[in-house]
Symmetry: C2
Subunit: 238 residues, 2 copies
Amino acid sequence: MSASLEIFGITGIGEIHARDDLAGIIATAVTEHHGGLRDGDVVVVTQKIVSKAEDMLVAVDPDDPLAHKELVERETVRVLRRRGDLVISETKHGFVCANAGIDLSNVERGWAALLPEDSDRSARRIRDGLRARAGVEVAVIVSDTFGRTWRKGLTDVAIGCAGIGAIVDYRGTTDAQGRELQVTEVAIVDELAGAADLVLGKATGMPVAVIRGVDASWLRTGNVHDEIVRPPAEDLFR
Amino acid sequence: MSASLEIFGITGIGEIHARDDLAGIIATAVTEHHGGLRDGDVVVVTQKIVSKAEDMLVAVDPDDPLAHKELVERETVRVLRRRGDLVISETKHGFVCANAGIDLSNVERGWAALLPEDSDRSARRIRDGLRARAGVEVAVIVSDTFGRTWRKGLTDVAIGCAGIGAIVDYRGTTDAQGRELQVTEVAIVDELAGAADLVLGKATGMPVAVIRGVDASWLRTGNVHDEIVRPPAEDLFR
């Protein structure tokens, strides 16, 4: 566990366009406005700017009510539930979420942002770029906003990560009474993504946060796809 | 949104017993070890010590493999899925979780901790006690560890809160492009509970964290039961 954490949003990141160098933009903003990145920082980058930088915007006729729906169908490999306009579906990445993860907020009218092709790879690229530019060993999380089956409201979770384990496994450790812990696998990247959202908000256009002070043992090779995405065969609700 | 946050675990909270004055113990520990609580702090208290203080421990024969199972059935109002020893069920509080929220970790062998009868009320009592003892206006969240339907690993979420809205509603606000936001209702108490877990860990016996710096507009009357628990009629997966 971490003794204490500091979380802050990064100011000075402007509008992102296709093929922008996200790592360079983030490194510059943190240096100019926040005294620079440090070894062990966790950099949380919201999906929208990753999709923009990776040219994942697609045109959607804003006057055709079916256009967004058709796009959702195209990005869906399995529909779990429908109610009215809401579709809960599995994307080709394995995520189960509303509307195949396609959100029209914070992109220009007439456009929609698809999820990155491989958000773990996106996180690795940003991490490599930050190491090259800032000379620091940091972790990177790509976050997105998902709903929950039995709880109202949305929270940010990790859709990709690099330089940090997605899960911390306490299996084999014992509690204060010497009894083996039942709760063993904590999805720290999801808790970190949600924590970052607390300083980002939704309407502000502030798309990157830094979390400082995480336990050094968490900083290892890791990824969301293998550690977090539940395979359909293990799923009780698909 | 909050500009920046600080999160720290509270040292000096010992073993909790039935009818202990949790607010008094927390106020003393924060004063002795962390310079005291401040107005606007969010105090996150893990469910286990709330259940202990509220005398929600029940005896379970540790040598009878059916004893824990029978207890889970007793606390369940509706079973959603079973697989092997795992039961996903709805508790009388409306939570959908594994094993009716009953965990044997960090309680003495031969005992199990049930969920508090009403975790929102528990949070209000702790908040009232902190106001009376420390003279500060803080928010209180009672947290517990839940799994997720389509994601592996567990995260801490809020099962009760007081002095803070469970949800922040961005409905009617517009994004940086002037378009109305699609993502509107953020479950901030769940993001705060998960953030607190990052400094608490599971094996350490550190059961309380403080989050400092949250947006002042979040501090209002609120509760988990009405704002977060999804009624079965609105649920697509029950």
